[in-house]
């Protein structure tokens, strides 16, 4: 494979990886921005999305799953927020740590009890299950689809945050919740909605990831750390930061794995270390 061919294929690989990381990270960062909660259960919502996606796909195919699963996960997230998290806003962060950690355990085991311990297959949609010839080598169209949908969703979220009233509320609440409350807005409603949206986005990530990695109980464990890292690199609470972080980590990971596979375990953390030492708030973050 020639150098330009190699660069193109690996870059598209990296973009598809970045898309999955982005779906997971954007929800995490939105939730943190609004609620200052570090949601340890975020990876399990991602996993829930994959499993619900599996069942939904068996009923109505991939596109049906992609529509249904994120909504289901979003609702589950909102119920969790309404039922448990809302009581804890007056408390300090260790309460949230415990509750989200406990929720991660509970949800993981519920999934295991519901779907069994084995990995489950989710097939990519018929339209994207083939290959396209990229620089003379077969490249899965599904990955192109992933990269593109990552970009599309990023665009949609950006417009939503910038142009819509609710997006404005979200941005305002993340900067000064008291002021927003004083202006007569039900801040609790905003929080619940954001939590639901964040979990729903994680659910999208889960459904989209399933054809690549199968729906399995181990999905959440590695992804949650990846999500944290990219959000920290990008800046906690910063939407563009989560995009930047995802792309940066994915590219470092892909090219690093190729040239220095022995360091593959460490790349992400080295990048995070570097970024935090130079800019403690993350690349695009506000707080130090």
């Amino acid at each position: 494979m020639s150098i330009p061919a190699f660069l193109v294929t690996e870059s598209v690989n990296a973009l598809s990886q970045a898309a999955l990381l982005f779906f997971l990270g954007v929800g995490l960062t939105l939730i943190f921005g609004i609620m200052r909660i570090v949601n340890f259960a975020h990876g399990t919502f991602y996993m829930l999305g994959a499993f619900i996606g599996y069942s939904a796909a068996r009923l109505g195919g991939f596109w049906f799953a992609l529509a249904v699963a994120p909504i289901a996960v979003g609702i589950a997230g909102m119920l969790f927020e309404l039922g448990l998290l809302r009581r804890l806003y007056r408390r300090d962060e260790s309460a949230f740590l415990m509750v989200t950690f406990g929720m991660a355990l509970v949800l993981t085991d519920l999934i295991r009890l519901g779907w069994g311990p084995e990995a489950l297959q989710v097939e990519p949609p018929g339209a994207f299950s083939g290959v396209v010839m990229l620089m003379g080598e077969p490249f899965p169209t599904y990955r192109l689809f992933l990269a593109v949908s990552g970009g599309v969703v990023a665009l949609v979220i950006w417009q939503f945050l910038e142009r819509t009233r609710f997006g404005l509320l979200i941005r305002a609440t993340s900067q000064n919740a008291e002021m927003v409350h004083a202006l007569g807005v039900d801040v609790n409603l905003v929080r619940s909605a954001v939590f639901g949206i964040g979990c729903g986005l994680a659910g999208v990530g889960g459904v989209l990831a399933a054809p690549l990695v199968t729906a399995s109980i181990g999905m959440a464990a590695t992804m949650i750390i990846d999500a944290f890292v990219i959000v920290i690199i990008g800046g906690m609470g910063s939407f563009p930061g989560s995009l930047l972080g995802a792309v940066l980590v994915a590219f470092v990971q892909v090219f690093g794995e190729y040239y220095l596979p022995d360091l593959a375990l460490a790349f992400m953390y080295l990048v995070m270390l570097l970024v935090l030492v130079v800019r403690p708030g993350g690349l695009l973050g506000r707080e130090a």
Partner: protein, 323 residues
């Protein structure tokens, strides 16, 4: 006076444990005490200084590997290898603390995580020294010096762990009641104000990180000869999360609470997994219940129940701290 009374009672009960518990119970208790030391060390950072570390497993794992390596490759007795490993960790932690305290809040926590994961990666890959994914096996409880065999036996080792825990506890209690501890609490409550009072809060933070990691490594150094092996699981972020939970469940900022939290965590996990595969489910529910029902943790719960008659001279900020 009241505290010393309770401490003495606890000490006596624990000293008599080998007479009451079967051997596998003693094994569990010894491990609980070791984890208790680890949790207490984390409490110095989390409970007294509000430095939430996601990477405390690094201290534990480092202590275990260092002590294990010393016992396997040198002829140092156990009683020497353990403190050497802990001291090494404390020194290295000064550097780690310096880097991590560049940031604060969640960024600080993530930096501690980064260091722990990097250490994990190193331990994983540096097979010649750490045994890679296999870890170190066959770590001996070498007796000595002067042929002192007492601590190499099962019950003897238990008493060693108990003694170390008690000594560490007394040290930490003295530390947090001292002016140093007052500054830590100042940092916890309002760092800007403390700095305005003229304290170099960064130095204090680095110091508490070093002490905390040092004691955490001490726990790890006790673990290596206890289990006879050290593996990469000891460095994994899952353990860091579990220790943090032990501190919170036990009651942050109390020193005793985390020790109880560690014991509670270990025993409950052990017993639950004996009875059901879905133990993680119940475990998670228990944590959630704790947050709702016993916000100050186990120790806070015990204190409010049994100390109704005694006035609190110092309000401990537990999980229910008001904003």
């Amino acid at each position: 006076m009241r505290n010393l009374y309770a401490l003495a009672v606890a000490g006596i009960l624990l000293a008599l444990a080998p007479l009451a518990l079967p051997t596998y119970g003693m094994t569990l208790l010894t491990e609980a005490l070791i984890l208790g030391l680890l949790a207490m060390s984390l409490d110095l950072m989390v409970g007294y200084t509000r430095l939430i570390s996601f990477g405390h497993a690094a201290a534990y794992g480092f202590g275990a590997y260092a002590c294990g390596w010393l016992l396997l490759h040198t002829s140092l007795p156990m009683l020497a290898a353990i403190p050497i490993a802990a001291a090494m960790a404390g020194l290295i932690a000064i550097g780690v603390g310096w880097v991590c305290t560049q940031a604060s809040g969640v960024s600080f926590s993530m930096l501690t995580l980064a260091f722990a994961q990097l250490l994990y990666a190193v331990a994983y890959k540096w097979t010649s020294v750490t045994g890679g994914s296999d870890g170190l096996a066959g770590i001996p409880r070498r007796p000595g010096p002067f042929g002192l065999h007492l601590f190499a036996t099962r019950d003897g080792f238990y008493y060693l762990v108990l003694a170390v825990l008690l000594a560490a506890f007394l040290f930490c209690r003295a530390l947090v009641s001292s002016p140093f501890g007052a500054v830590l609490r100042g940092v916890r409550e309002n760092e800007a104000k403390t700095r305005a009072l003229g304290y170099n809060t960064r130095l204090y933070k680095i110091a508490v990180v070093a002490v905390s990691y040092g004691f955490g490594a001490l726990a790890g150094a006790l673990y290596a000869p206890f289990a006879g092996f050290a593996n990469t699981e000891l460095l994994f972020w899952l353990l860091s999360g579990q220790v943090l939970i032990m501190v919170i469940v036990g009651g942050t900022g109390t020193l005793v609470g985390p020790i109880l939290g560690a014991g509670f965590f270990l025993v409950v996990q052990h017993q639950l997994s004996n009875y059901t595969e879905a133990w993680a489910l119940f475990f998670g529910l228990i944590f959630i219940a704790f947050v709702i029902l016993a916000p100050e943790g186990i120790w806070g719960f015990i204190r409010t129940r049994f100390r109704r008659a005694a006035p609190e001279t110092e309000y401990r900020r537990g999980v229910a701290g008001a904003r």
